[in-house]
């Protein structure tokens, strides 16, 4: 139960950050990727600010040996840079460039923007399910 409340709190903070920074606006995202045209560098500062914050927080919390609200860290363990990683990233970038949405902002937008985000979230889930199903065979 505590984990759920903490996750909820973390999600709310994340959602507020996404909305406040304008990252829930697909046009702002596409304009960041539009480096040769109407370039809007905002996303770079949002990503940069996030990375700086998390890097510092990680240094502190990793030194403690365990997370605040759990007994163990649950971190990814894969190390190899393989075709799956690269192709997956490239595909993600293509979809991202096409619609200006990625998972976080799309879900966060469900709360206040009708139409688009719902179509995007359902499609993303379908895509993930499709990949997982095919990958098992």
């Amino acid at each position: 139960m505590k984990i759920i409340m903490i996750a909820l709190m973390a999600g709310v903070i994340f959602g507020v950050g996404l909305a406040l920074s304008g990252m829930v606006d697909p046009n702002k995202v596409i304009n960041f990727l539009d480096v040769t045209g109407h370039w809007d560098p905002s996303l770079m500062f949002v990503l940069g600010g996030g990375v700086i914050t998390t890097t510092l927080a990680y240094q502190f919390i990793f030194a403690q040996g365990k997370p605040l609200f759990d007994d163990d860290f649950h971190l990814p363990t894969l190390l190899k840079i393989d075709a799956k990683l690269l192709l997956g990233a490239v595909l993600f970038g293509i979809g991202w460039g096409l619609i200006g949405y990625c998972p976080g902002p799309a879900v966060a937008s469900l709360g206040f923007r009708p139409g688009e985000p719902l179509i995007v979230v359902v499609s993303m889930l379908a895509g993930m399910l499709l990949y997982r199903t095919v990958a098992k065979t």
Partner: protein, 65 residues
């Protein structure tokens, strides 16, 4: 932005994040902050891919959105 584009784009994003194991939040923020080489590589890959995609979409359709 047509429904068709949203659906196709969403599907591609879904397949891409499942295959690549992350996105701007997962690789971009969480992964890079741990100095994960996988995440730094993935982030550079999708940034370049996104930039190239927008460039060509603009080129062929005359619009970026």
């Amino acid at each position: 932005m047509t429904t068709a584009l949203l659906v196709v784009g969403g599907l591609i994003v879904g397949i891409g994040v499942a295959m690549g194991g992350g996105c701007t939040s997962g690789h971009g923020i969480c992964g890079m902050s741990r100095f994960s080489l996988r995440s730094i590589t993935a982030t550079m890959a999708f940034l370049i891919s996104g930039i190239v995609t927008v460039y060509f979409v603009k080129l062929f359709l005359g619009a970026s959105a």
